[in-house]
């Protein structure tokens, strides 16, 4: 084979291999989705969404407390993380060139990579040990810690995309920097920031490890900050490692709900992104 032919062949081969790589990656995705859908769908019923878990041996019951618990926990996490994340993001976009800003950016990225179980240990030492009980607050804290770096970086990137002329215009009109930032820039970037928050929420809603010894688990529904609280991922885990078939079915149903939740948020984020792109393109 001539050199040219060989090179062309190699090029074609690479295209095929890369396409194959995509196919290989998508196989488990479909596999998992299909499995979760199939196994979970049959166990989804009205009871699942409205009832509490039943004791061992009694069939039926549901994960109502777990689902509400997850919503409650991400609510707490949001209250803690959104202000910190957004304001830190504002700082990074306003004073981004300073060395301190680089340090913050670096630490935020690093914090992103910290295993969630380590964050769980931290939250345990901070919020469980001193008060001697597991609590929804501790769980929300752990999840909040995980949200902060995501929101910070997203806010920063989106604020950077807002044309600087907006800031300059408001400053020229006599606004303070604070005003310019919070009344002009942030609202302009708000859709994107909210998208970032959605993505972060979808992420932490599925976290199990940091909740194992902070929020612990609860057979009942409790909406109190100082009591353990059930959550969907922890409940799925508890059911999955048990030997009861009924619990396994419920675990799949729970997994379906969780995946559905994540899926919806991802789609929502994508839709918002596309709208943004169109807006900015004009």
């Amino acid at each position: 084979m001539s050199l040219t032919a060989r090179r062309k062949f190699l090029s074609g081969l690479v295209v095929v291999l890369c396409g194959a790589a995509v196919a290989v990656a998508l196989v488990p995705l479909f596999f998992i989705f299909a499995y979760v859908l199939q196994k979970g769908f049959s166990s989804l019923n009205w009871d699942f969404f409205t009832k509490m878990p039943k004791p061992v041996g009694e069939s039926g019951g549901g994960m109502a407390n777990a689902m509400l618990g997850t919503l409650y926990l991400i609510g707490i996490a949001s209250v803690l993380a959104i202000p910190v994340g957004v304001i830190a993001g504002v700082y990074l976009s306003e004073y981004g060139k300073k060395p301190f800003a680089s340090l913050v950016r670096f630490t935020a990225d690093v914090l992103n990579g910290v295993p969630s179980i380590v964050i769980g240990i931290f939250a345990y030492g901070l919020a469980v040990l001193p008060v001697k009980h597991f609590s929804a607050l501790a769980g929300g804290l752990a999840l909040g810690f995980m949200m902060v770096p995501i929101i910070t970086r997203t806010t920063e990137e989106l604020l950077n995309l807002v044309p600087g002329s907006l800031r300059e215009g408001s400053l020229a009109l006599g606004a303070t920097r604070a005003r310019a930032a919070f009344s002009v820039m942030v609202p302009a970037a708000l859709p994107g920031i909210m998208t970032g928050i959605l993505v972060a929420l979808a992420r932490i809603a599925g976290e199990t490890a940091p909740l194992l010894f902070t929020a612990f688990n609860n057979r009942f529904f409790s909406a109190r900050l100082d009591q353990p609280i059930s959550s969907l991922p922890v409940q799925i885990y508890t059911y999955a490692v048990a030997p009861y078939d009924d619990w396994h079915r419920q675990a799949w149903a729970g997994a379906l709900v969780l995946v559905g939740f994540v899926f919806i948020f991802s789609v929502l984020a994508r839709v918002v992104t596309r709208r943004l792109e169109r807006m900015h393109r004009t």
Partner: protein, 343 residues
């Protein structure tokens, strides 16, 4: 765009408003944690008790006896549950005196999964110990075959499934094995968490049951109800009298009868390898742990009331779930002991 913004805002609003919207009537919640061994009956008890007293929610998490003791010592839960009594070191580490209160009797059975074998296998204490230590490695080993003439055992490797967490069920099992095999006592010892020579770890009784159910050629140990509810085969074990006894409620009750006569004041007694006819050798009490002088008097009173219910009304749920009710003498002694708890 507006519509999406509205949707997102309302979703946030809903999430943040949830706590206020679900503000509850004055329910009291009591948290407990510990053994997986009695989890089936405890979950039944707490559910039934909640039906009787809708404002009392007792939240029990089965994380293993070791976990229960630890969390109770840390006071991150109000009560603990264990099938391995606390050691003196553990009791010393706790901030106050703790009462062991027996609740039911249960049996630990050797479960196995051998495709093709459907007669119940017989195990002697020594052979069981050797298998768990990894000294007997194949199912058709002479030691096992000798006890089970006529059963066609395959040449499959034996996989031991044990607990990966700190477990009272482990305690009961190794307590028995150490009594029948000095070798085992030396190599492995007796505790809620031991250094297993071989095998795979599962979390909780549930984890071990799951492992054995899914792994052909495996052997493990779980509380009786986990074997029956999940239709896993389990073997009969040779007792001190030489009989091969399969775990039944009568066998367990027989094991407790001698101890019931001479119950120590703190209720910490081992009834494994008990003498007597018809005794099932791997039986045990399981205990709920309560501080004698807790700070929270309200919860203390609720737990004492609950215990009184469990020791009388609650006992009738035991047999359906595969546990043996407590002997009457033990219940009497316990009612006395409950008076020591400050309420």
């Amino acid at each position: 765009m507006k519509a999406i913004r509205f949707l997102i805002a309302s979703a946030f609003g809903a999430i943040l408003a949830l706590p206020a919207a679900t503000a509850q009537a004055q329910t009291v919640q009591i948290n407990g944690a510990g053994a997986t061994f009695p989890y089936p009956i405890y979950s039944k008890w707490f559910s039934e008790y909640n039906k009787l007293h809708p404002d009392i929610e007792i939240n029990y998490q089965s994380i293993g006896s070791g976990g229960g003791i630890r969390q109770l010592t840390n006071q991150t839960v109000f009560f603990g549950a264990t099938d391995g009594p606390m050691t003196s070191d553990q009791q010393f580490a706790a901030p106050g005196p703790i009462l062991h209160l027996p609740t039911v009797l249960g049996a630990v059975v050797p479960i196995y999964n051998i495709p093709g074998v459907d007669t119940q296998l017989k195990f002697s204490g020594k052979v069981l110990a050797d298998v768990i230590m990894g000294k007997v490695t194949k199912w058709n080993d002479a030691a096992i075959a000798g006890l089970n003439p006529g059963v066609k055992l395959p040449a499959t490797d034996i996989t031991v499934a044990h607990r990966s967490d700190g477990s009272g069920t482990t305690y009961i099992f190794v307590d028995y094995l150490s009594k029948v095999s000095p070798d085992f006592k030396k190599t492995v010892g007796v505790a809620t968490s031991v250094n297993w020579p071989v095998g795979v770890g599962g979390k909780g009784n549930e984890g071990v049951a799951g492992l054995v159910k899914q792994t052909p050629g495996s052997i493990g140990y779980v509380e009786l109800v986990y074997a029956t509810q999940n239709k896993i085969d389990y073997g009969s074990v040779q007792n001190l009298n030489g009989e091969f006894v399969s775990a039944t409620l009568e066998g367990v009750t027989a094991a407790a009868s001698a101890a019931a006569m001479a119950m120590p004041k703190d209720f910490r007694v081992s009834i494994t390898n008990a003498p007597g006819a018809g005794v099932y050798p791997i039986s045990s009490f399981t205990w709920i742990l309560l501080y004698e002088h807790p700070g929270d008097k309200k919860r203390s009173k609720i737990m004492v009331d609950f215990m009184k219910w469990a020791l009388t009304e609650g006992q009738k749920y035991a047999t359906d779930l595969g546990y043996a009710p407590l002997p009457a003498q033990v219940v009497t002694l316990e009612m006395e002991a409950l008076k020591r708890i400050s309420i």
